[in-house]
């Protein structure tokens, strides 16, 4: 979703230090809550399925369509149960692992591929550099969901294809940013110094230029994570993403769609979690932009003054 924000190329965060960063974070209450939520979510996604993962697939006749907020059963049924009596909480945790895992894999692939292509396109003056850029333009000029739908239809839905397709539609963002950065870095004095010391192209790119693009790439990847989660959820919701018996939050919303009248909670909770996750990521990203931008940072510093 946040293509627009991303193409505006946020400056790489060059924080003064961990303590200062922490102080800026405390100044922005929304960002603090968002970071807390994300940390909890990641921990829950990693350890939750280990603890109560088997409940996610264990049907229970007595809990069928159990309404949320009841203490009659175990705490794992506090958010209700689905039509087969499976615990929603357990399913949310397993869904979290799948959703975040797929999104993470897609972002990593997109960063690596996009970053590498961007390095090549930015460094070389040859024709293929321009060709790579045109390719990115083609990918970008079509709605990402449309592209993903076509490719998944033709290749067939599977987790590998899903990761590949999600990465494919995000590559241009990484490619263009890296390219812009490399084109600027290429002109710097230290590159000429390395050249005059007899360094080859490969060494210059890998040792001198590539490391400097990493902060920008990481920032964009963090912002892009929210967009990838949304795209994955939409694809899974439409039935072209992950296939049963595996499920993600998006697929859970789709399953619950048939029971809106009788059991609203089946599709409500996973959707709410998608929303809270992407919202938190966007809030953190927007905070990071402010904290990293010297012209905006005063907004976080000014609050430190004693109240008038």
């Amino acid at each position: 979703m946040s293509e627009i924000i991303i193409t505006a190329a946020p400056p790489a965060p060059r924080f003064a230090g961990l303590r200062t960063t922490w102080r800026y974070l405390v100044r922005d209450k929304f960002a603090l809550v968002a970071v807390g939520f994300l940390v909890l979510l990641v921990l829950a996604a990693i350890f939750g399925p280990m603890l109560i993962g088997e409940l996610a697939t264990r049907p229970g006749l007595r809990q069928r369509n159990l309404a949320p907020f009841s203490f009659a059963h175990d705490w794992t049924y506090f958010l209700g149960a689905d039509t087969l009596g499976r615990s929603i909480i357990a399913r949310l945790l397993v869904g979290a692992q799948n959703t975040l895992g797929i999104a993470f894999a897609a972002v990593v692939v997109a960063t690596l591929v996009g970053g590498t292509l961007g390095l090549i396109a930015g460094y070389t003056q040859r024709l293929y550099g321009a060709a790579i850029l045109r390719l990115a333009d083609i990918i970008m000029s079509f709605p990402s969901l449309l592209l993903a739908l076509i490719v998944l239809y033709l290749l067939g839905p599977s987790v590998t294809n899903l990761v590949f397709v999600l990465a494919f539609t995000r590559i241009p963002i990484y490619l263009r940013t890296t390219r812009a950065e490399v084109m600027e870095l290429r002109q710097r004095m230290f590159v000429q110094a390395a050249k005059s010391m007899g360094a080859g192209h490969l060494r210059i790119v890998l040792r001198h230029i590539a490391p400097l693009t990493i902060p920008t790439l990481v920032t964009i990847a963090a912002i892009d994570f929210a967009a990838v989660i949304l795209a994955e959820s939409a694809l899974s919701f439409l039935g072209l993403g992950i296939q049963p018996p595996e499920f993600t939050w998006g697929a859970m919303v789709a399953t619950g769609r048939g029971y809106l009248q009788s059991a609203w909670w089946i599709s409500f909770w996973p959707g709410l979690l998608i929303m809270l996750t992407t919202l938190s990521l966007n809030i953190v990203a927007s905070w990071a932009r402010t904290a990293a931008d010297p012209q905006q940072r005063w907004r976080l510093q000014k609050l430190q003054r004693s109240p008038r």
Binding site: L146, A234, G256, G271, L279, R299
Partner: protein, 307 residues
Amino acid sequence: MLGFIVRRAMQSAVAIIGLLVLVFVLTRLTGDPAALFLPLDSSLEARQEFNRLNGFDRPIYLQFLTYLGDLARFEFGMSLRQNRPAMEVALQAFPHTLQLAVIAISLATFFAVVVGSIAAARPGGLFDRVASLVSLAGASAPDFWVAIVGVMIFAVGLDLLPTSGTGGPLYWIMPIGVLVLRPFGLLVQVVRGTMIGVLSTPYVKTARAKGVSPTVIIFKHGLRNAVLPVITVAGDLAASLVNGAVVVETIFGWPGIGKLMIDAIIQRDFAVVQSTILVTACAIFILNIAIDLAYALLDPRIRRQTT
């Protein structure tokens, strides 16, 4: 300026050809085209016959030439399920999506400009903070979930609006409401960002010092200069409304091109899938040219530079 437009149009044309090549390559190189074009339960003989009839056993470059020839003559084959030319089916669905998209993007732009400008007038103020949070939430909300919650509350719970289908004005409220959300959220951020930038320029300070009223400063001095990035972003968002349209149309049973595409994908009606792709791609192509034109007409710098 003509040169500028022609150059941009060429770029978009290259993009469309690229997409068509991608579809061609993926359909021919991922195994058996008959498996894509024919229903899943078709017999082996039928598949071989189909491959021979359609020339899928010929060399790949010959196939590509035939493919291009068919495209040039707007031949997309018949829809398997509806027994009508696939292009006709796609073109019939297109206006429904277009109506939704035009209304949604207009509403989103209008409200985003108003809210973003007011928020930019006092950055860090109460209105600004509320607007920022609301716009972030709008941009982060999964549209399919918002649509479902909407159905849950307004159709199932309160029984105010119809769950799905087309008809009177009531049928428009939820699809438009869901579709507006994301472009609105993103546009507010863009408007706010550009407006803060514009409002801190010296000429705005001069106007303020002269005693020009804040409303005039914001909506006349500020907005006129902030309008360019907003148009570009709104144009991009209009193109990506197709994403939302697929989801919204599926949920609300809207007979537009997004629903047609999903239905065709599920029914494996490949001729229709291909036609919907091409219709959408052409619509985006035209939209891109329109944005470039608007940009060139509105910005005197581009206008003069390129004449």
